[in-house]
């Protein structure tokens, strides 16, 4: 598989979009840190951008790349290779390329301006989110044959996780505001990788106190070692399950 990853990666890193994405992240991170005197403020601004942009770019780029490689994937499938190897190689190559973009684009500025545990947490969740959304992209592109439908589908997925889900949570909280909802909200947050990532980083800041009783509960749960283990476990499931499902679908797919 390493041999395959080597060549797919070689193709991806020469793609203008990945280079542009790295430069964009670099520019935004450096810009935000130099605009704010307080690196913590810079981190919070960067958090908000990173949680919207990196999932979007990861899922859309991976999907487009997978569809554009369809003939090449067909050629690989005609070689003496296991089918599952091809999807896994695509997944690892895309993850590696996009994670490298994040590590260069955000990691360097964070190391320069905010090399704190919060900065490290932000970098870590962005890396994990990148892998999660590449994984989702693999599943979506294997499931749909039509490129336009596939890209539309992943945009919808991104929209759901990045925006709609929060709206539902808010609506839910509003409708049932007479009841103690803290645990339910905690569960709902854990189900959305973007929310989980956001809360995990916010809890590293002292701002959790601003979030009232729910914030205190989050802190009590997610702020502990067990909470971090729980969050990592949920995010691992989010990154593994879609790509495993993609491999299963692809193994039986007519190319």
């Amino acid at each position: 598989m390493l041999r395959l990853i080597k060549y797919i990666l070689l193709d991806i890193i020469q793609n203008r979009m990945v280079i542009g994405y790295t430069l964009f992240l670099l520019a935004v991170s450096l810009g935000l840190f130099s605009l704010n005197d307080d690196p913590t403020k810079g981190l919070v601004s960067l958090l908000n951008i990173a949680l919207i942009v990196t999932p979007l770019v990861s899922i859309v780029f991976s999907t487009i790349h997978f569809y554009n490689s369809s003939e090449f994937i067909e050629m690989m499938a005609a070689q003496p290779l296991r089918r599952s190897l091809i999807v896994r190689a695509e997944f690892w190559s895309l993850s590696l390329a996009l994670v490298t973009a994040v590590v260069i684009g955000m990691g360097i500025p964070i190391a320069l301006y905010a090399s704190t545990s919060t900065g490290l947490a932000l970098l870590a969740v962005t890396v994990v989110l990148t892998v999660v959304f590449v994984s989702l992209a693999m599943y979506a592109s294997v499931r749909t044959r039509d490129k336009a439908k596939g890209i539309g589908g992943v945009l919808l997925l991104w929209f759901l996780f990045a925006l709609l889900y929060d709206a539902f949570v808010l609506l839910f909280m509003f409708m049932f505001s007479d009841y103690p909802l803290e645990k339910a909200v905690l569960a709902m947050v854990a189900l959305n990788p973007i929310d989980l990532a956001r809360v995990t980083v916010l809890l590293q800041l002292d701002m959790a106190a601003l979030m009232g009783y729910t914030g205190a509960l989050f802190r009590e749960f997610l702020g502990t070692v067990n909470g971090i283990i729980f969050a990592s476990a949920v995010l691992t499931v989010w990154s593994a399950v879609p790509v495993v499902a993609a491999v299963n679908v692809f193994n039986r797919k007519d190319l």
Binding site: L4, Y7, Q14, M75, A78, P80
Partner: protein, 237 residues
């Protein structure tokens, strides 16, 4: 060498292959013929494991190919349109397939690499190549590992006449070395030169599967296109 038994494959209501059975031996060169959409490509895809048949079996050298992958080391496949990653160079593509098929690397056949002068454009990115040049790369990859079975989908389409000649000579050479060659083409003169048998498919069913010599003798026609016209007329009546 290759035993296809009752292969059936449907896409929705359309039957792309309908109870398709054939036996193919090493040393045969078989022309897959038939109108567009008759099931030629579906058959090739089933052979390569790119599509899974609904029913039936394909036995290659005594083993079923369904769900297997090792047997593909004995197959060289030249697709109709070869598309490769944009930013990869020609030389890298060849290296990559070589690394994937490491186990067979000691017995390499680089005749076509030399004949097509691949080394002269091996530093070019795949996306900058013309269709014909990509076809040359596909052809080289198909023949490179000395496979027992060659599957060539419209091999000469898009090649310049000189290169097409080179490729045809190579196919004939391989055929005489006891390989099984399966090829599709719409160019009668190519098929007449290259193939020993004709397998004619319509709507996923085999219309006839016979050696060209036998067909010629039976119809009394000297040219392949006339032979086919004769046979088809006979079948329609």
């Amino acid at each position: 060498m290759l035993d296809v038994r009752n292969l059936t494959k449907s896409f929705g209501k359309m039957k792309a292959l309908d109870n398709f059975s054939a036996f193919m031996e090493a040393g045969q060169s078989i022309a897959l013929m038939g109108p567009n959409g008759s099931g030629k490509t579906t058959f090739i895809k089933c052979l390569l494991g790119l599509a899974t048949p609904d029913e039936g079996e394909i036995i290659f050298e005594g083993q079923s190919v369904l769900g297997a992958w090792e047997y593909r080391r004995h197959i060289g496949y030249m697709p109709q349109i070869g598309r490769y990653p944009d930013h990869i160079k020609v030389g890298q593509i060849i290296d990559m397939v070589r690394e994937i098929r490491q186990n067979e690397a000691e017995n390499l056949d680089d005749d076509l690499l030399k004949a097509f002068h691949i080394d002269q454009f091996s530093h070019k990115a795949m996306r900058t190549l013309s269709g014909g040049m990509r076809q040359k790369v596909s052809a080289c990859l198909a023949f490179l590992f000395n496979p027992k079975m060659l599957i060539l989908d419209e091999p000469t389409a898009g090649l310049d006449p000189l290169s097409a000649e080179v490729l045809k000579e190579k196919v004939l050479a391989e055929k005489s070395r006891d390989k099984l060659v399966i090829l599709t083409s719409h160019i009668f003169s190519d098929l007449e030169e290259l193939t020993s048998d004709i397998l004619y498919i319509i709507d996923g069913k085999i219309q006839f599967y016979e050696p060209i010599d036998v067909l010629k003798e039976r119809t009394g026609e000297p040219k392949l296109n006339r032979v086919l016209a004769h046979v088809m007329r006979g079948q329609n009546n």
